[in-house]
Symmetry: C2
């Protein structure tokens, strides 16, 4: 029976294995991973650490591994794609696993910045379940003051989480505003929500050193020193591509493994999916790198289908993202004005601040909505949206993502028969008001 080896037990790997299992009864399928947490939602770690989720086990996406051989605590040190063997790291007598087909889903690792003190005790990274549990242990032991370096998605989610956990939090980001995937003035709204909950947000600064001691001393580029019982470094991730690359799989954007739309690497019978692989951006073309759980599932499914003899293409990402920060939701999809210009479009970007529902309905709030389209063709290119967490921000950005997926023009958004009832929308939904405003400005 041919053997499929999947390396990686997170979203992409387990999804690929499951999909191959569904489609191909004749494959033997093993999933080798380096920890003890198959198919866990690492995106849920901030909510475990905040105390909103009580049990580690709740983070398991699913415990259904029917027909899969799970190999926990099985890090792979080396691949021989010619001999079709994988060498298990640090194993007695150089244990190897033979395979016929391979899915590399080794994920990504958080970047540990190159600065003095970055590896001191009390300085944490947060990407794996293991790192999350370490951080949780530090919180249980008592750590009243936290400094977070990096104001991207993880940084601001953790600023929220640690504040909820009762810590005094300082958030240091090098960009002019937090959440740099949004335009700065929209990021400033998120920064405002953090400050309103007493997070000490310091924009436009870098951490230059972490000094040992109890507490640690975090020195920033302005020369201020911040006392910290724990430090969290959240300055992004880098693909775990070394294993595949050393075996001869080429690397692309950000060093991730190059794949085609079938999720195949150029090496026969070797697929890659998830945070270790490049991705296709629907508006910008192939060879992008946007490591996200939602994408890892989709890529894993495509890889699993093709391993099992299917003929499926990955349809690409749009850069859709959403984050909750206290009572605010911030989301984006597609391209902002700068990205659109860089991508060869002639963008027009228009703001609107429509109500999320009929203004008279209790709880109505203003949305901060920004639409980018191509001036010449009228084509929708992207949207950014910040609003109340209860204002259906996530699914509003999904309406835009769906329109982007289909290549709609901005003005066509206003033609769609969207649902209307005063508790949920206006007769022209907020998105449609913004679309009409865009078209009027064109």
């Amino acid at each position: 029976m041919p053997h499929l080896l999947v390396i990686g037990g997170s979203d992409a790997g387990v999804t690929a294995a499951r999909r191959a299992r569904e489609l191909s009864p004749s494959l033997e399928i093993s999933v080798a991973f380096s920890d003890a947490f198959p198919s866990y939602s690492i995106c849920g770690l901030p909510f475990l650490l905040s105390g909103e989720v009580g049990e580690v086990s709740a983070l398991a996406h699913s415990l259904d591994f029917d027909g899969l051989a799970l190999l926990p605590d099985t890090p792979i040190a080396e691949l021989d794609l010619g001999a079709r063997t994988a060498l298990v790291a640090a194993s007695a007598a150089g244990r190897t696993i033979a395979f016929d087909q391979l899915v590399i889903a080794t994920g990504a690792s958080p970047i540990r910045p190159d600065l003095p003190g970055a590896d001191l005790p009390g300085v944490h990274l947060l990407h794996t379940m293991g790192e999350g549990l370490e951080l949780n242990a530090a919180l249980v032991a008592g750590a009243p003051r936290a400094v977070i370096m990096g104001a991207g998605y993880i940084g601001i989610e953790m600023a929220d989480a640690l504040t909820r956990r009762g810590l005094a939090v300082t958030l240091i980001g090098r960009t002019p505003q937090v959440l740099p995937t949004l335009d700065p003035d929209l990021g400033a709204l998120v920064g405002g929500a953090l400050r309103a909950h007493d997070v000490n947000v310091l924009d436009g600064r870098e951490v230059v050193a972490i000094e040992p001691g109890e507490p640690l001393g975090v020195v920033d580029s302005v020369g201020e020193r911040h006392a910290a019982d724990l430090v969290l470094l959240s300055v992004g991730v880098t693909p775990n591509a070394e294993l595949g690359a050393a075996a001869g799989c080429p690397r692309g954007r950000k060093g991730a493994l190059v794949v085609d739309r079938s999720m195949a690497t150029p090496r026969p019978g070797v697929f890659a999916a998830g945070d270790c692989a490049t991705t296709r951006h629907r508006l910008l073309g192939d060879d992008a790198y946007l490591p996200l759980g939602s994408t890892a599932h989709k890529q894993g499914r495509v890889a699993g289908e093709n391993v099992a003899g299917g003929n499926r293409e990955f349809e690409g990402v749009l850069g859709t993202q959403v984050v909750k920060v206290f009572d605010l939701a911030a989301a984006r999809t597609g391209l902002n004005d700068v990205e659109a210009r860089r991508g060869g479009f002639a963008p027009l970007t228009v703001d609107a601040e429509p109500w999320d529902r009929n203004a008279y309905y209790p709880g109505a709030s203003r949305l901060h909505l920004r639409i980018t389209g191509d001036r010449g063709s009228g084509r929708l290119l992207g949207a950014q949206l910040v609003g109340d967490a209860g204002a259906e921000v996530a699914k509003r950005i999904d309406v835009v993502a769906t329109a982007l997926f289909c290549g709609l023009k901005v003005a066509q958004l206003a033609d769609v028969d969207l649902s209307y009832s005063p508790p949920f929308a206006s007769p022209w939904d907020a998105l449609q008001q913004a679309a009409l405003a865009w078209e009027a400005r064109r």
Copy 2:
């Protein structure tokens, strides 16, 4: 200066007038309407009557009538499309208004069922602002017991509203479950929410008579008699098409005025829009009748644009609707299985009960989701969705509506890069889980 007369001061009429004003500085534009409430949100009446909205004036959509001559309390009795004049009803000396172009936006009227006692004092209809204010006066005067006849959108919104207002409410509907635009088992969830809030829901019964007295006596088809201090009849609406029809405009479905995709009637220079006109269903073709505020705005805009010399087509409806009932939201778009079969498709309908967000996140709830697609082509045909009011039900159905607008296949829903973060969605959004379940069953 050519004169555009718009008959009707609600959504379609005012939107048409405003759009013509934007595009054509050379038109004189008048809006004649029979009451004193131009551009009011009659969809907001239940929330005024519930007490959730405090002030009648809050229901005004907008007070911007710049460049429009408003003619309140000006009902039109007769049109002469040859002479281009409109006769004002009950006016001294037969006052007429001359026009060059005409938009008929006379709306719809609630149906008063033909049963004994239907016109007794204390028996109410609810469609116009005037009817809403009358009903409010009855509530202010004190009316502890209400009986509502009709369990469609207005009936169930009013059952919620009057319960909030402190009344004991009986809701009598002739269909097996409330909200018959949903499949019965999904309607039953809405009925359950009403019952959980002590509404006396009586399904499968008709009101056969209303007996005079204080209280009134509502007799149902089972022979039960329900004491009522007020009765609300909400059994649907009928288009106000008599004025146009008497002037020679043909009538179509449900007696509504026939329009083409430009919102023109067959009579030159005469347009119709909103609840008095037929509409185009994107999946079923022209000559549908689906009177809704959101559609009225879109049709009015198209009519106003074409009156002003434009060349715009109405893109059609999908039958998208949402309603809030206590803590539940119920929504639909497109076709259900029965409608699809009747429409010539070979439907497959599949249920799913996915979580609205990652199951571990506080407040997560199960959605009741039903997807209909065409088995042969794989094309998405519609969805029904019932879930918590906080589960982004409205905008989830809008994602489906956008996909329907674009003609996506069911399986393609799972390819869209939708937003993911544990507080708002799962890595495969609920819609995508349902889409994958549909495809697996196909």
